[in-house]
Amino acid sequence: MDAKLTHTQLAWLSITGLVIFFGTWTLAAALELAPRRFLPLPWEVAEAFVKLVKTPFSGETLQGHLVSSINRYVRGFLLAAAVGVPLGLMMGWYRWLDNVVTPLFDGLRFIAPIAWVPFAALWFGTGIGGPTMVIFAGAFPPCLINAYRGAKYVEQRYIEAAQVLGASGPRVIYEVLLPSSVPAIVAGLRVGAGTGWQSLIGAELIAASSGVGLMMVRAQGTLDTSTVMVGMLAVGVFGLLIDVALRAIEQYIQRRRGLAT
């Protein structure tokens, strides 16, 4: 790390990065390095954004699409967390379960979530079920892996202390492995929240009626590149917000545990 950059200097660096990004974009579009239809100017995207907020596109405004995306996303992510975290912790304690799940899981996790799209649609439908399953496929592996690693690396003395105090297996999992793995689990949820949100566009390729992904697919069909970019920005900004929120939660938990410096 660089020595001694002040907060102000760091803030200026971030601003510089953004200026370079938008400058390059504007320049490339103004010089028509790509045809204007394929590479809109930043303010054309801004206009498209205002229009999408005010008037429906494919049946919904931008907010409407976003809400329905978030709805699917939250379901898929919560399902991944609700299955992945307990399963990972149990695998960290019960060796037989580890041996049953790990070979299967290690194979399946290399299949990109988008590859599940056809089957998700066939098995769970194109309404809520299918897209939810694709997001689940994206968010599940980090949730499980981190909980598992957290449970595996719990300091032996805490486990022994629980055992000599008469704790049963489920109690060791719930009262020792879970709380001492919280930093690892929260880190896993953060990564899973990201990969789940990334899978969203893939999930909405099969969405029937609404969603940011559907909006982008429809706009692509008519070469409405500004609308596609608004979709990209919405996905990016909302993903950033999720990450910032989860990072704040992570830091709060670490502070509470007295682990933060």
Partner: protein
Amino acid sequence: MSSNITFSKVSRNFRRDSKDFFALDDVNLMVNENEFVAIVGPSGCGKTTCLRMVAGLEFPSSGLVQVDGVEVERPGPERAVVFQQFALFPWKTVHENIEFGLKSLGMPAAERRERIAGNIKLMNLEGYESAFPHQLSGGMQQRVAIARAYVLDPKVLLMDEPFGALDAQTRTVMQEELLRVGRLNPRTVLFITHAVDESVYLADRVVVMTRRPGRIKEIIDVKPVRDAEKWQQHERIEDVMDLESFVHLRTRIWRLLREQHDPADH
């Protein structure tokens, strides 16, 4: 209420580079009901292994470790352990840490509260019930660890160098406290230490162990001397340590430990 502990021909070996090493070799020891036995020895003599076998965290390669004539097969709350590094749960408050074992016993909430309150008073922890371990000093943390063990009303209390991580002054206070608490609640105690002073001050008998292989070299009877010389009349540890009878025993144990000192080690 209390129990006895027996080690019968206990050995523990492990293989390394296709050679057998004996961590413990033919250990025979009986700890009687309500007796306080300290094991001293150089590091690597297997004294902690002895304690962990009674706790059910490790097992002998041959021989038998029994509590009240029953072979130890797994850990249990009737054999409470106080660890050197405290091993308090950092995510639980003082109250919750002390409560942990009582929940294993399936005790009703009202009774739990009463028992915890009594032990918090006994260990002078009043006012710290809702503190987290990292907010406490080392000495206070060890008080919590002892309360967590005592609250279970265990048949035997296993203490693995419990004061090893404390500074000298805190250690002195805790040693006096342990003696005080032990008089109020007599208990079978197996106490591991490498501090000779501490073993003579606290224990009824001191077991001196040798290293490689870990064997019992000699067992020193402290209790007859303590009773005859009326150590209990002295309230402070330094007054007891000044007594000729104390110095005599301490020197004897020091000699036993030095005899086995291997010059090749240093």
